[in-house]
Amino acid sequence: MSYRLLYFASLADRAGCSGETRDSAAANPRELYAEVAAAHGFGFEPARLRVAVNGAFVGWEHVLAGGDEIVFIPPVSGG
């Protein structure tokens, strides 16, 4: 399936882009993160990240659908 990924902060720096469209067999965010972490060399363990799909927080086992927008959210530092 084709997914749209957005990257922020140090993940964007590491990926060298703010987002990508990716064809993947990953069925959930856990599988997709393992794939993109390997592709881009992301150093975050999943336990340090949150996941959003289509603009809402979801769990790591959330079932993905083609065309979903997925964001892996590293620890935040606003304020």
Partner: protein, 146 residues
Amino acid sequence: MKRFMLDEEPIDVARARCALDHAAAGAYASFEGWVRNHNEGRIVRGLDYQAYAALARDEGEAILAEAIQRFPVREARCIHRVGRLMVGDLAVWVGVSADHRGAAFDACRWIVDEVKSRVPIWKNEHYADGESGWLHPDGVSTPPPG
């Protein structure tokens, strides 16, 4: 009605606090977060805030709605800057009106803490030595880029 806003321009506090006016309110508490010139021993010249805007707005709204449920307050607002800021700039403003000061202080503190821990906004600090770095403060060191 939007209680939480991201702002690419300097925050106009005098204008923002008008939204807190309420005839029953006897107290107004506010918090201003400023860009300081140092962090963890390094000299900071300025910083960039980046937000995942759609989710940041929703999460910010959820925090302010929760605050109004949890504390006996009349109104609560928060504005967070995005983009490039320099030392001394106002980065985040929280304002709360309430009948009495205790709830206003308590809710204001709670809102700032929740915004800092939950809203998807990131800070990239620019240091005097020319380096810069995204802050991911969860007690685990971030691997260096590259």
